[in-house]
């Protein structure tokens, strides 16, 4: 009975969220640069807080980072310039990572030895991505974001996951760096020894992932996990946790580029950070009792819709 109610609550929240975006978009489009909104000022932080709160719940239930939902949805349906949205997206993603980091590290789920070389490459590339993103005109950024989001949707639909990838032998680089570990798998009550392979190509991939994260303000969990898990052979739980932990480093470097360029409006960033953090806390509590696959499909639909919206906005078909 309680389970049934939870499902109804979550479904209602999601439906309300999507309908709200659909209905609000045309009204908000009326406000533009240099023109004050006709809504009372306090409505904006309140609406942002409510939406990001729901987003925080959904992100945890669907196993995605907050940034990948935040940037296309807020960028597509709110009257904010993409510069401010991307900066907020990065700060939202890094705050989520900072909050989750201590628990993941202490439990040995996120691995610092695996994360550090990856972080180094991704954070340097994210700086370059952020610089490029800030120089591009809005329509190009929106169009590229739309394409990127639709590609992410495709990755989420087709990418397979491997609980324990078969890594026969560590490659030379990961042996030199001693990237290996043990974690305790509660479901089987066993300690799992893990190692990785294909480290050079895996690290090389993070140049592109970091660049995209910085350019679009997306976080990068959507790409981190497949590379760490499928390409480099880290167990799924280690990949997910290390990816979440990594976001703080990757997104910090890009966030500073946006902060230094003045792309920070506290009225956008702060309610979003608080909303997504509180939503994540509720999401963690609902996680054990909600069917993740149903939520993930809802996220894919919402992301797909946001991707189409960004694409059409960028192409001036749906301004």
């Amino acid at each position: 009975m309680i389970m049934k109610h939870r499902k109804v609550i979550v479904s209602t929240l999601l439906t309300a969220f999507i309908l709200f975006m659909l209905m609000a978009a045309p009204a908000w489009a009326a406000s533009g640069p240099g023109k004050a909104s006709t809504l009372a000022w306090w409505i904006w932080p309140l609406v942002l807080f409510v939406i990001t709160f729901v987003m925080g719940i959904v992100a945890v239930l669907a196993g995605v980072g907050g940034g990948v939902l935040f940037t296309p949805i807020i960028g597509g349906f709110f009257p904010f310039n993409m510069d401010f949205v991307r900066a907020a997206g990065l700060i939202v993603a890094l705050s989520g990572s900072l909050a989750a980091g201590p628990g993941l590290l202490k439990r040995g789920m996120a691995d610092l030895r695996l994360a550090l070389p990856v972080a180094l490459i991704a954070s340097a590339a994210a700086i370059a991505g952020a610089m490029v993103g800030l120089k591009l005109p809005d329509n190009i950024t929106q169009t590229a974001l739309g394409i990127a989001i639709l590609a992410i949707v495709a990755i989420m639909l087709v990418a397979k996951k491997s609980e324990y990838p078969d890594v026969k032998k560590s490659d030379n680089l990961s042996s030199i760096l001693r990237i290996t570990g043990i974690y305790h798998e509660h479901s089987t009550d066993q300690d799992v020894n893990w190692k990785i392979h294909r480290t050079p190509i895996g690290l090389f991939s993070f140049i592109f992932i970091g660049f995209a994260a910085g350019m679009f303000g997306l976080g990068a969990g959507w790409a981190n996990v497949p590379v760490l898990n499928l390409m480099m052979g880290a167990p799924l739980k280690i990949s997910v946790a290390t990816s979440k932990f990594l976001l703080a480093t990757t997104d910090t470097s890009a966030a500073w580029v946006y902060i230094n360029k003045g792309a920070v409006i506290p009225m956008i960033i702060v309610p979003s950070v608080i909303g997504i953090m509180l939503g994540s806390l509720i999401g963690v509590k609902l996680l054990a009792k909600t069917k993740a696959s149903a939520i993930k499909m809802t996220v894919i639909v919402v992301l797909g819709f946001s991707g189409v919206r960004s694409l059409l906005k960028g192409l001036a078909i749906w301004p």
Binding site: P33, P45, N81, L94, I182
Partner: protein, 155 residues
């Protein structure tokens, strides 16, 4: 977690379970401890300072009702329209409620530097020079991004 790592955890001031489940290294536990403390300070700070801003404790540079005039602009147009300097100029505008928010935001964006710096001595003490150097390079990258040196230049 072996005896060495349990001792390491205790040294780092981190509570470990009675039956330790995993082998987290000394530097990883230290990183977690610094991150935990700093993250809580940052999140508390951002909530308190934003409340000051909303309730008008400190007068904002841009009145609350006017913020919506600017958020549709490209960032450099916004800076020009409001006569705000880019870079670290916000540090001199702490009397304004809106710019006071930059302090906790910058703190959150600086936590990772603190965490990496905190583990460097441990890494070198353990003769893990490769990771000590990698951590230092990461600090340099983040500090360069924060300093504005890398992103300097016009639009």
């Amino acid at each position: 977690m072996g005896t060495t790592e349990t001792t390491a955890a205790k040294k780092a001031g981190v509570q470990v379970a009675a039956t330790p489940l995993v082998q987290a290294t000394e530097e990883q536990l230290l990183y977690a401890k610094v991150l935990d403390t700093a993250m809580k300070i940052g999140l508390a700070g951002i909530i308190v300072v934003f409340a000051f801003y909303l309730f008008g404790v400190f007068e904002p540079k841009i009145p609350l009702a006017d913020v919506s005039k600017y958020w549709g602009m490209k960032s450099h147009d916004y800076l020009e329209a409001t006569n705000i300097k880019s870079g670290w100029a916000w540090t001199g505008m702490y009397r304004h409620g809106d710019f006071l928010n930059f302090f906790p935001i910058a703190f959150l964006a600086g936590i990772t530097v603190l965490c990496y710096l905190s583990i460097v001595p441990t890494l070198f003490k353990k003769k893990d020079s490769i990771y000590g150097i990698l951590a230092l390079i990461e600090v340099l990258i983040l500090v360069a991004a924060a300093s504005g040196l890398i992103s300097a230049g016009g639009h």
